[in-house]
Structures are given as C-alpha cells and as structure tokens.
Amino acid sequence: MTTELICINCPLGCRMSVTIRDKQPPLVEGNACGRGAAYALQEAVRPMRVLTANMKAKGCARPFSVRSSAAVPRERLLDCAAALKRCHPSLPIHIGDVVLTDFLGLGVDIVATQNLDFSPNL
C-alpha cells in the first residue's frame, strides 16, 4: 500500500511516497534529505505535529505564545489546544520557560516562545 504525502519539515515541501511492503522495510521515495525520509515513515504510520498556540497568564488579558517541545500525535491537537485554555501560569514568562511538563502525558513539554513580563498597554 502506497501513501503519497508532502513533507512539512522545511519549505522545499518534497512530494514523497511511502510504500508499506510485506516482509521488507517500507520504501520511501522523493525525499531530499534524511529528515524527510523519517517524516514520511512516521506520517504514513502515525502523523505527528508540533503544537503552537497561545496561553494566557493569570491576571493578564494579553496572550503569550507557546510550542510543544516535540511533535504530538496529530489527532490530539484539538484536545491539546483545549487543555491549554485551562492553564493560567503566573507572570513573568520568558522565551524558553517550561510552562507545563509532560503535557497530557504525551511526553512533551509546553515551552513559552514569547516574553511577557509586564502588563502592556498602548
């Protein structure tokens, strides 16, 4: 069985195909690099995505952005985003701060990607 897919690792967007074969390793074609091949194998079996989203700190109307430290299963993205809404860490927040560890038991951390250390106004 062959799956066609487009790599999302970098802007080249290589069009690849993954063929799952009986009693042999899967065949990846169309990749320009090793990361692409790895992505293709994973994507054909269980797609994973980096989560990027916003959170709000306690008592702060402005959001700050976060990312997952590694990819999470694609089918969990929506409930990850919903779960983040329930968390309101305290200020200050700096880029690189680990805001939540082992988020939802998925083995990834939620890391801040923006600085928020004041209540900004216009």
Binding site: N54, M55, K56, A61, P63, A82, L84, K85, R86, L122
Partner: protein, 495 residues
C-alpha cells in the same frame, strides 16, 4: 409641546437646518435613526459643490444650487471646514458633445451661474495643460468646488449643539401625527412632541411627509457607486473633471462620471446611477464598479493625468462605496410646508445638487419659519466653530509645539493618513463624539488610507475600549450588531 422644533435627520440637510435654527432661542432637537450622526445619503456621495450650470432652469434645484454655492466660502470659513473652489471642467470629445457644452453655457447664464466659459481645446490647455485624446473643448465653471460632506455635516452639528440644539442618535421616527399645537412623533425611543418639524430624512423623507400630509411624496432611491484612488494621484488632479452628461453611461440620471480631487486628497471616481428598492442599500455591485472601471479605462487618455500616467492605474484603487440619492418623483426638491400640514417643513428629494443647495435651502426655510412663528433671535449665537488642526496639516514648528504640549501627538495610530493618538482621543471625547470605529474613521480619517485600517484597526478598537470603558468585544463598527470581535481567546468552553 416638549420642543419648539424637531429636525428629523442629521445629514447635510438636517445639519444645515439645525445650525440655522440655533440662531434662534428655541428648544430644538435633532433625531437621527443611525447610531452616529450623518448616517445616510450625506455619507456616500461625490463630495462636489456644483456650480449649477446643469440644473434645470426655473427649478428649485437651480435656484438653491447657485445660491448655496455662493455661501460655501463663508460657511466653511466660519466652521473651519476645508473647502476648495477648484473649478469644474466639462469636456467634450466630439461636435455633438460640444453643442451640449454650449447649451450648458446658455443654461448656466440663465441660472445666474457666474464665470462660466466655453473653451476651445487650446484655451482649455492654456487653463490646464495636458488635455488630449479626442477632446475638442469644454465648459469651464470656475465656481465648482469640493468639500467633505460628512465633515461639513459634523461641523454644522457641533456648532448647532454648541448653540443649544440637542441631538439624539439611535432614534428612529416610526410615526407622526398632528396634534393640538403641533406634532407628536413616535420614535424607537419613545414619544416626542414639537410645535414644528423639519423633515430632513433623506431617502425616508417621503414616509415622514406621508404620515402627516395628503399630498404624498415618493422618493425613489438612486444608488451611485464610486471608486477611490490612492492619494498619490492627488497632485495630478487639480479640478473636477467630467465628460458631458449625455455621453456617459446611465444617460440622464447622473450628473456625470467625474474625477473629483477630494479635499482629503483621495481621488474619487464616479458615479453611475441605478434605481434600487431598498432605501438603505448602499452596497456596491460588480456591474456598478465595473461600469466605472470600463469608462475610465476607455477615457483616461483624454484627461491631463494621462500625460504622467498613461494607463488607468488599476493598482491605485483602494476602495469603493455606494451612496443613495433621494430622488423625488417630481424631479425637483420638495420644500416647505404642505398645505395640509402647517409647521411641517419638508426638505425632501435632496438629491444632487443637494450638498451644494442645503445651506441655502435651510437658510430660506428657517427664515420663513422664524417669521411666521415669531421666533426670537439667540443673542449668544456663535457662528464660529474651530476644529483642532490635524497633525497631517501642521508645519514642522506646529508639530513640535503640539507634541510638546501633548505627547499623544507624537504617537501615530494611522500612518497611512497620518492620524495621531491625540486626534483620536479628541474625536471620542468631544461633544457629539465618536463611539464606534466608523465614527473615529469619519472624524479623523484613521482607516481611510491605502491599508484601509489593516494596521491601525486594532489600535482604534483598543482606544475606543479604553476611552469608553467597555470591553474590546463590545466595540462596534457602527453600533447595533456590528461588533468587531467575536470573543476572547484562551477562554475555557462551557461544559
């Protein structure tokens, strides 16, 4: 009677009436159905002060057009409203159109329009270089001009308010009955009574009249669409340009397809004319804007601007809007008291040249009312209204002084139109001030430039939220259901 006078509508007619009425010591009220002032026809038109060369001789339009035109310099000086007497060129591209030019000149003379001349192509180019294409000559009407219609309406209202007239917006008149001593108005915000009423209700003026008079009126809304071009083109357009009316698509319904150098430097193209059914339908259409584009693509080559910019610059289009002309089926203004409704003064059917004529109409009608009702002059009437100078018009020294006095002048909000935080706060804080994004836009021009509010929009919403003390999610574009934002993010959903 609660009031001596109620004026229905705060467009150019109602605003002119309000200011005239404020010369007298009266309990006066303006009711406006929109959330903000000037919500109707005055908001969407060609911004042109017409000379009167094409108004039908003997009509009220001709009379008040010429009289109103002459009032504009003094009126705009008193109210500190920018007005440019740019002059109008009506160009002809063949002999048939040139014959029409001559007829227009005769008509202008009969109407008492000063200074009109028939020019050959050479004489036209001596006046203004660059006319080419098939142009054979033109009518030059030096008294034509440009003004911003809603800026003028706001200024008139502010001056009227300062002189004692009350204003209520978001108040729609739903019925009027004659009573002892005057009229009872049923509005969306309760009942009101007044000894006399000025009907300045734009496309709804027929409905107002027909509540009280058996001499029914019929207003047919005629939509005109316009296209806006980037103010980069302003230096190339000094006068109002239009081809002879009969040559234009839409034929007789429209004054013309003009190029109008607005006082705000945006160049306005338009407009066509189509009857519509909905009296509040100002939507643009593919057919309407298409007609304007096609006309100018074909005829650009006649115009002086084509020397510098040979092809119609489609990439300079920044927007389009529609406006409704309240056309009366009598083909003329309907002014004054119907025989069966004394004290009810119509200013109805105020389509083009309505903007030009309104000051003169208001002056005449209010003087008439004052005499017949024995109104007493208001000794404290102040005809002058001053606006704070916009930053974009200041010299470098004025800017330095303004920033030193108020650092909010040093903080830009709209960089396309150069509007500072100080001016936006003033627009919100002043009497009859802005409470919506459109209100800020129309008073300051923030959001009217090339990026159409893409950058400054969120800042304007935030400033309104802070100044009015409301959450950002309650800030609207123009009142009612027009909230900008749907909700806050990162809010837990209800289980």
């Amino acid at each position: 009677m609660e009031f001596d006078v109620i004026i229905i509508g705060s467009g150019i007619s109602g605003a002119c009436a309000a200011r005239e009425i404020s010369r007298y010591r009266l309990r006066a009220l303006v009711v406006e159905k929109g959330y903000d002032l000037c919500a109707g026809a005055t908001r969407g038109n060609s911004a042109t002060v017409h000379s009167g060369h094409d108004a039908e001789y003997g009509s009220l339009k001709a009379l008040y057009n010429v009289r109103g035109n002459a009032m504009y310099d003094a009126l705009c000086a008193d109210l500190d409203v920018p007005f440019t007497r740019s002059g109008t060129v009506i160009f002809a591209t063949n002999e048939a159109e040139m014959a029409e030019v001559r007829r227009l000149k005769e008509n202008a003379d009969r109407n008492g329009v000063p200074g009109c001349e028939v020019l050959t192509r050479d004489a036209l180019n001596a006046l203004e270089d660059g006319w080419g294409g098939d142009v054979v000559g033109a009518l030059y009407a030096p008294t034509g001009g440009v003004v911003c219609p809603y800026t003028l309406a706001f200024a008139l209202c502010e001056n009227a308010a300062e002189n004692g007239v009350a204003f209520r917006t978001d108040t729609e008149v739903r019925g009027i009955r004659r009573t002892d001593g005057g009229y009872r108005l049923t509005t969306s915000r309760g009942e009101l009574t007044a000894a006399c009423v000025f009907n300045c209700a734009g496309t709804h003026a027929d409905e107002m009249n027909n509540f009280v008079s058996g001499h029914t009126l019929r207003i047919i809304p005629r939509k005109g669409e316009h296209i806006l071009l980037d103010c980069k083109l302003a230096p190339y357009v000094q006068r109002v340009w239009s081809q002879t009316p009969s040559a234009l698509p839409g034929g007789g319904h429209t004054k013309g397809m003009g190029v109008i150098p607005s006082v705000d430097r945006t160049v306005i193209l338009g407009c066509d004319a189509h009857e519509v059914h909905d009296k509040d339908d100002t939507s643009t259409t593919a057919a309407g804007t298409g007609e304007i584009l096609r006309y100018f693509e074909r005829n650009w080559r006649h115009l002086p601007i084509s020397r510098a910019i040979p092809e119609f610059p489609r990439s300079m289009v920044i927007g389009a809007f529609g406006g409704l002309r309240p056309h009366s089926d009598t083909d003329d203004f309907v002014l004054g008291q119907p025989a069966d409704a004394p004290g009810f003064y119509n200013m109805a059917g105020i389509e083009s040249p309505g903007l030009t004529a309104a000051p003169a109409i208001a002056e005449a009608l209010v003087a008439q009312a004052a005499q017949s009702r024995g109104w007493v002059k208001n000794p404290g009437f102040n005809p002058l209204r001053r606006r704070p100078k916009p930053f974009r018009e200041m010299t470098a020294d004025e800017r330095r002084e303004a920033i030193a006095r108020d650092p909010d002048y040093g903080r830009f909000v709209c960089r396309c139109e150069q509007v500072t935080l100080a001016e936006i706060k003033q627009a919100i804080r002043s009497p009859l001030g802005a409470r919506t994004v459109n209100g800020v836009k129309m008073r300051t021009r923030a959001g009217m430039g090339r990026c159409q509010g893409g950058f400054c929009g969120p800042d304007v919403v935030r400033i309104l939220s802070e100044e009015l003390g409301i959450p950002m999610t309650e800030v609207t574009r123009c009142g009612g259901d027009s909230r900008i934002l749907a909700g806050e993010t990162c809010v837990e959903e209800e289980p």
